[in-house]
């Protein structure tokens, strides 16, 4: 009987979306000191969009529609000037999902479905525009993994494809960050790896799930993530890893 799992993770377990702001991009292996300096300078400049809109979007997720609309407006102004601004698109797509949630909550499923599909479409478009942009990858993947955690229909083939692509992107993020992974805050490490373990468990991939839980033991030693990972590893397969963002600032 599946009743123990049946009502798991109500609401926006897309708390993992928070990862998108906490996983600072890292340079790749080959980067030398000079390119690192340039990279960090560029990063400071680029961070402005995240810095400006993030709090508004999270307030929106918590139900503050005024602040959500302010964040959306900011992205829309950017997109009016540059419709191919991938980061604005990924944030805007996430905002549309929040609008969709508000519509579903009011019982308007038709509007909810429309906004939901449009939000996913924008996120996919952003990823297609800049496939190497780590922020876009994280934003899209965290959202897709988060919503899969909040409910999953195994017969929904489209969602399966989306979740797989999100997980492969998250794996790419891990590969890019791997050389400096220990320098990244524990929260970002734990959320990234738990996102991978959870997503693969939803898809029924025992090997990958176990691989990432073991990686958490190594990369998040002496942290609450290690404790949680040990608990999950002690359980019998099949299972769906349910993970709430630890120490989330929302």
């Amino acid at each position: 009987m599946r009743l123990l799992n049946a009502r798991f993770l109500f609401l926006l377990s897309a708390l993992t979306l928070v990862v998108m702001l906490l996983n600072s991009p890292r340079i790749e292996d080959s980067a030398d000191a000079a390119s690192r300096e340039i990279y960090l300078f560029e990063l400071q400049q680029e961070e402005s969009l995240d810095a400006i809109v993030r709090n508004d979007f999270f307030a929106g997720m918590m139900g503050d529609k005024v602040r959500l609309e302010r964040g959306m407006k900011y992205c829309e102004d950017i997109l009016a000037k540059n419709p191919k601004h991938a980061e604005a698109l990924v944030w805007h797509g996430g905002g549309l999902l929040v609008r969709a949630v508000h519509a579903y909550t009011s019982g308007d499923n038709k509007t909810g479905d429309k906004l939901w599909n449009k939000g996913i479409e924008e996120m996919n478009h952003a990823a297609a525009l800049e496939p190497q942009n780590i922020r876009v990858k994280i934003g899209r993947s965290a959202t897709l993994i988060g919503y899969a955690q909040s409910g999953w229909d195994p017969s929904d083939t489209q969602s399966r494809v989306l979740l797989e692509s999100a997980l492969l992107d998250y794996e790419a993020v891990y590969r890019w960050q791997k050389p400096n992974f220990r320098d990244i805050p524990i929260h970002s490490r734990g959320e990234l790896l738990f996102g991978l373990a959870s997503g693969w468990s939803i898809l029924g991939n025992e090997n990958k799930t176990s691989e990432y839980l073991r990686l958490i033991l190594k990369e998040c030693k002496n942290s609450p993530y290690e404790v949680k990972a040990r608990r999950w590893l002690a359980k019998k397969w099949p299972l769906v890893i349910q993970h709430d963002c630890i120490g989330c600032h929302v």
Binding site: L3, A6, L9, L11, G107, S150, G151, D244
Partner: protein, 233 residues
């Protein structure tokens, strides 16, 4: 000839079945995970509803769909849970529309949304808050509706804390449901689950044993009992 006679007797028995009998049959079917019998009761309830369009019949049908979710879960048929929840939501919405002050109608809508959420991709995001709102409304309309406290407690239990989840509140609401309806098994089954997850095995054992005493046939209770027993080892 004898068979034909038996068929006549049986059909007249069926036609004489009162709504109360039907609820008893459906409840027992839920307990045993008997999807076939529940489906038959749903069909009968739908026919009755076609004629009466009454609030009572909408509520009865929504209740049967809700029970169908549990029966389907006991046979791991997620597709059937989803279908039953979706059909039940439409019926419960109609009941709420007919009488917005019906606590039971709001509670059923809340519970059915909760049943649907885990079986739809993104379902928690889509239906979680609405389920919470409906359960709150049910309690506001009738503060003695024990089922509504169970429904709300389940939300408290499984919602992330940042979004209103609260384990202490869950315990409080399950306990309130038990206090309001001491003969009901559902609050005790959920309390057992709560205690099991909290690692309080003695409390879990006490609650699940009492739930099984009150209703020995319910598969859900049996399932939780097995979980508690396995944890003991």
């Amino acid at each position: 000839m004898k068979l034909a006679l038996l068929a006549v007797i049986l059909s007249s028995f069926i036609s004489l079945t009162t709504p109360d009998d039907s609820v008893t049959i459906a409840r027992k079917a839920r307990d045993r995970g008997d999807v076939k019998t529940l489906q038959a009761e749903i069909t009968k309830a739908e026919k009755s509803l076609e004629k009466t369009k009454s609030l009572d019949d909408y509520i009865r049908l929504a209740l049967f769909y809700n029970w169908m979710c549990e029966a389907a879960e006991s046979s791991n048929n997620r597709g059937m849970v989803k279908e039953a929840a979706q059909a039940g939501i439409a019926v419960a919405e109609k009941a709420v529309e007919l009488n917005p002050t019906s606590s039971q109608a709001h509670q059923l809508l809340a519970d059915l949304l909760g049943q649907l959420a885990p079986n739809v991709t993104g379902g928690g995001m889509k239906y979680g808050q609405r389920s919470v709102n409906e359960a709150d409304k049910a309690i506001e309309l009738d503060p003695k509706n024990a089922e509504a406290y169970v429904t709300r407690a389940i939300s408290y239990l499984y919602t992330p804390e940042a979004f209103g989840g609260n384990k202490q509140k869950a315990l409080e609401f399950f306990s309130k449901a038990k206090e309001l309806d001491p003969q009901a098994d559902s609050p005790r089954i959920w309390l057992a689950l709560f205690y099991l997850e909290a690692g309080k095995l003695n409390d879990a054992r006490r609650e699940i044993n009492e739930a099984r005493r009150l209703n020995p046939e319910r598969k859900f209770a049996q399932f939780v009992y097995e979980q508690v027993s396995a944890s003991k080892k």
